[in-house]
């Protein structure tokens, strides 16, 4: 599982390293001997069957859980608590925003805790809302926004936090296809614009290939990294043309086989490139 991504624009300094990582809930081993790293500026997707432990892995990376074996380093330091330069976009947008705070207040709250003044944090929150195209919704409450808009507020909250690394756990799983494509492009654009690193978990292999510089495939029970696939589709991605390229189809099939293999019990593969 080596990766030599010479063609990527990212620097080669790892922003985080996961080494010899394992995790167990009580006696149940979920993840074992997971090793991979990401360089600053990279877009890394993690794919794997449901229940593989992707969320668990992200929670450990975010400092919300402690590994039961091995270690995770973020910017060279072992992660024991949520690091300041790391932001998370949670899967369930409807439960990750505070319903009693407006969009702007939701985004500004972490900045308030970081000790920033009212003017400063409101300016930053507004800038982040502009970045996701929601400046007009600043004073609306989350429940007055559509699902896609709520997830954009959650992304804006992560951006305003000015992180070096953004972790996203199936961020687009519960929005419609069009919104999903919009949010994918939005995420790519922001990542380029702000030069941040993104780690994103998804069920959707098309999405993983479309977004990533590298795809980490988890599989097995307990799960481990079965492959790390470099995606050399360039920096300019387009929902139609990129997905038409033969390389795209090749990567897609390769990942699809890779992840499906241990779960062969299922008689027929689903038509869509989604694993459930």
């Amino acid at each position: 599982m080596s990766s030599n991504n010479g063609k990527n624009t990212s620097s080669d300094r790892p922003i985080f390293e996961i080494s010899g990582f394992s995790f167990a809930y009580g006696e149940t081993k979920i993840l074992e001997n997971v090793n991979f790293a990401a360089n600053a500026g990279e877009f890394v997707c993690i794919v794997g069957p449901s229940g593989a432990g992707k969320t668990t892995l992200l929670q450990c990376l975010a400092g919300l859980r402690q590994p039961t074996g091995g270690e995770i380093r973020f910017k060279g330091e072992q992660v024991t608590a949520p690091p300041a330069e790391l932001a998370v976009v949670f899967q369930d947008y409807s439960r990750s925003l505070m319903p009693w705070l407006s969009a702007l207040q939701n985004i500004a709250l972490p900045l308030k805790s970081a000790g920033q003044g009212k003017k400063q944090r409101e300016a930053k929150a507004l800038a982040a809302l502009e970045e996701v195209g929601l400046a007009a919704a600043a004073d609306l409450y989350p429940w007055e926004l559509s699902g896609g808009m709520q997830q954009r507020v959650a992304i804006a909250r992560a951006l305003a936090y000015e992180p070096a690394l953004v972790i996203m756990d199936e961020p687009f799983a519960s929005v419609d296809a069009q919104t999903r494509a919009d949010l994918e492009d939005l995420t790519l654009r922001i990542k380029d614009h702000l030069g941040i690193t993104v780690v994103l978990v998804t069920h959707d292999i098309d999405e993983a290939v479309y977004l990533s510089d590298r795809v980490v495939a988890l599989s097995g029970r307990p799960a481990t990294v079965v492959d790390v696939v470099d995606v050399n589709l360039g920096n300019q991605r387009d929902q139609i043309t990129t997905k038409e390229r033969p390389e795209f189809a090749g990567l897609r099939s390769r990942l699809y086989r890779l992840i499906r293999r241990p779960e062969q019990q299922a008689p027929a593969a689903p038509a869509a490139a989604e694993i459930h």
Binding site: A87, F90, D92, S96, P110, E144
Partner: protein, 273 residues
């Protein structure tokens, strides 16, 4: 990316004009009063004087004398006692709500304390604090705060566990968790507890005033009854009724302000379904 931002005003309801509300609210009390007025007109009973007498006496007794000696002390006592009950109730409720084990440990105590009718503590309170102001305040605070404590515990627990991860990963400080998460999350429940607390506070206030040192509506009513100023006693009850009603109006106005987001959300959800 098309952006359809709903306008703020769309979620506002068409409000009934205030005078209509007032009319709608007052027809029953006014008719009841009219019935009592007519029925008691010919009354010769010492205990049920004609309503007209009582109302004539109100302006004589209460404006301005008893207003200063009895109504204001009651009001001050109630406002202070209720405010302390709210603050203490929220503080205790948040702590017990957040630390589950602490709540389990003190539950027998709180359940027992809740089962004892508050006024039963009056003799004990008088033993420790005498019959003056401190006894009155302690009684109001201690008895009225329980509904707030229990509702705050429940409100704090209603916070979506998913938000714990959000707060942890964005490193929200303890103070901000309290101010911006737990308190607003629990606010609807706190208010429904506070509504009960307010009624209890008024009841306890009257009781302690009846047994304590002079001053207060409760004292006035008891004193009037004991010195056979029956008409005065009835004026005290009328004043008490108005007192309670006014407090409720103020309370509701406050609730509307503080829970604006929640009201707006309730309307929003209704509008969708």
């Amino acid at each position: 990316m098309a952006l359809n931002v709903p306008t703020k005003t769309s979620s506002r309801s068409r409000k009934r004009p205030w005078f209509k509300t007032l009319l709608w609210q007052s027809w029953l009390p006014l008719s009841a009063l009219a019935v009592i007025w007519v029925a008691s007109e010919q009354s010769t009973s010492v205990y049920f004087p004609p309503a007209a007498e009582v109302f004539r006496k109100i302006s004589i007794v209460w404006f301005p004398d008893a207003l200063v000696t009895d109504l204001l002390p009651s009001l001050g006592r109630l406002v202070l006692g209720f405010a302390l009950a709210v603050l203490l109730g929220i503080a205790i409720g948040v702590l017990l709500g957040l630390f589950r084990s602490a709540e389990t440990a003190v539950r027998p105590l709180t359940e027992t304390a809740r089962a004892i009718p508050g006024v039963a503590l009056l003799p004990i309170a008088m033993m420790f604090f005498g019959t003056g102001e401190s006894m009155k305040l302690v009684m109001i605070v201690f008895i009225a705060m329980w509904p707030i404590v229990l509702n705050t515990i429940e409100g704090v627990r209603s916070v979506d566990p998913a938000l714990r991860n959000v707060m942890a990963s964005f490193r929200i400080t303890a103070l901000d968790r309290f101010r911006s998460v737990y308190l607003p999350a629990a606010m609807p429940q706190i208010f429904s507890g506070a509504r009960i607390s307010l009624a209890i506070a008024v009841a306890v206030m009257i009781a302690v005033e009846m047994f304590g040192t002079p001053g207060g509506i409760g004292y006035f009513i008891r004193d009037a009854q004991q010195t056979f100023r029956i008409i005065d006693m009835w004026t005290g009850l009328v004043i008490l009724g108005l007192f309670g009603y006014t407090l409720n109006v103020i309370f509701r106005a406050l609730e509307d302000r503080v829970l604006r987001w929640q009201k707006r959300m309730a309307k929003h959800v209704q509008g969708e379904s």
